[in-house]
Symmetry: C2
């Protein structure tokens, strides 16, 4: 069933108008007919069953019927990723949504060649991935900040940092995270050229940082980000199977549509 | 330094001609000058330092100098992936090379819409990813086969199967693989629509299959493949840190070029 992320307040009996793009998608691309069911979420009010109640030239109206799942949050883990080229950055944002990151922070580092990103497009990619993956929120994409600013935020938030260290002397991620304190955490991935020696020293000296290795091979930035988030979720997040519950068919690890 | 996968036999003093595409890449794209160093591997003879010894209109000649690393193999793990749409299939092959799969087997399943793939293009993607990731071999990409044929091969090879089961009642991958027997293994990922109930029954009934869950969210096929390989390498493969060795700077988990 189609799932849409909307901004409106969701409650039984409410009627909402999706964006023109969403209305186009529902009525033209997916060709939903009147009364067709769909699912809505807004990151606050849980997941609701709704129906297509009106269609017209200028959009459509969705009638909210009943709560399907109460609001739930992904674990409090941020992905901190140095700005990389656009195609890989977009892949990383899509995968961060699928793998249950709560936020994506974009870092400007010594070896980063860019200092800006198309945040609106990245937010749209995050929303679409969240719709497909079944989560009830959309990861926030924060504007690029210098690495030092982000590290200061980590300290202020009492957030631990999984530092994916290229230098090869860090322990494997699974071993380094075993028995580590719970969330809040962040996963930090460097730029294509790696962190500068000074940056690496600063990160490793931070009392909240846990250096980890991601195996024996050189990974592209997108592979490193996916891998690190997956190992974090497996060790400390909601992949451990401790909290599995909810309706069958929604709590799955299978492959979704393309 | 540039790493190239070549077909020729590699030995000290040998001179080889790379393919026209490789010659173009070296001399036109990367603009290597005479005597510029590079690294070569062929999946059999280890990694060798070489130099650009001659260039001409029709190609170039590389002089093989010295062995840098003896041949080593990735763990004996196959990725078995149902045929999915081309862009995601190409991503999967690239990531399988980075994450150290020894082979990629393409499966035709009940809900697979295709029965062929551009194997030459997939092999080129695998070779390029292997060049960048630092491994000394290139994963073989096998022609599509029916799922039943692949399962029969698993049994004949005494190969265990990590079955990424969408149904949600399998234990988390890390728990399911803890203490499991060592390689040879295969990781099995279904098509976008999932395995049919009959296929799922057959796989789960196989004595060599270990069903695992990949977390609480629905994953796209490429995300599922990357995640599953990563968790296998972490639990049973060469990410465990038991075998780390080799020259510093080559055994890393950092991010490579783009």
């Amino acid at each position: 069933m189609i799932r849409l992320f909307v901004d409106a307040h969701l409650a039984a009996g409410a009627r909402i108008s999706p964006t023109p793009e969403q209305a186009h998608y529902l009525t033209r691309v997916m060709r939903l007919g009147l009364d067709a069911p769909l699912l809505l979420f807004n990151g606050r009010d849980g997941e609701w069953r709704a129906r297509l109640a009106e269609t017209g030239r200028r959009g459509c109206v969705l009638a909210i019927e009943a709560l399907v799942r109460p609001q739930a949050q992904v674990p409090d883990v941020d992905l901190v990723i140095a700005l990389v080229k656009r195609p890989r950055l977009e892949t990383i944002v899509e995968k961060a949504a699928e793998l249950g990151a709560r936020r994506v922070r974009l870092a400007v580092t010594a070896r980063t060649n860019a200092d800006r990103a198309n945040l609106a497009r990245l937010a749209a990619i995050a929303a679409e991935a969240a719709e497909q993956t079944g989560r009830l929120d959309v990861p926030a994409i924060l504007a690029p900040e210098p690495l030092a600013t982000i590290l200061a935020a980590m300290a202020a938030e009492d957030r631990r940092l999984m530092f994916c260290d290229e230098a090869g002397d860090a322990p494997p991620a699974a071993a380094a995270l075993a028995g580590a304190p719970p969330a809040p955490w962040a996963v930090l991935i460097g730029p294509e050229g790696g962190f500068s020696p000074a940056e690496r020293e600063t990160i490793r000296a931070a009392p909240f940082a846990t250096p980890v290795s991601l195996g024996r091979r050189i990974l592209r930035a997108d592979t490193a980000a996916i891998t690190a988030l997956c190992l974090w979720q497996s060790a400390l997040g909601d992949w451990r199977g401790l909290e599995v519950g909810g309706p069958a068919g929604q709590v799955t690890g299978g492959t979704g549509g393309d």
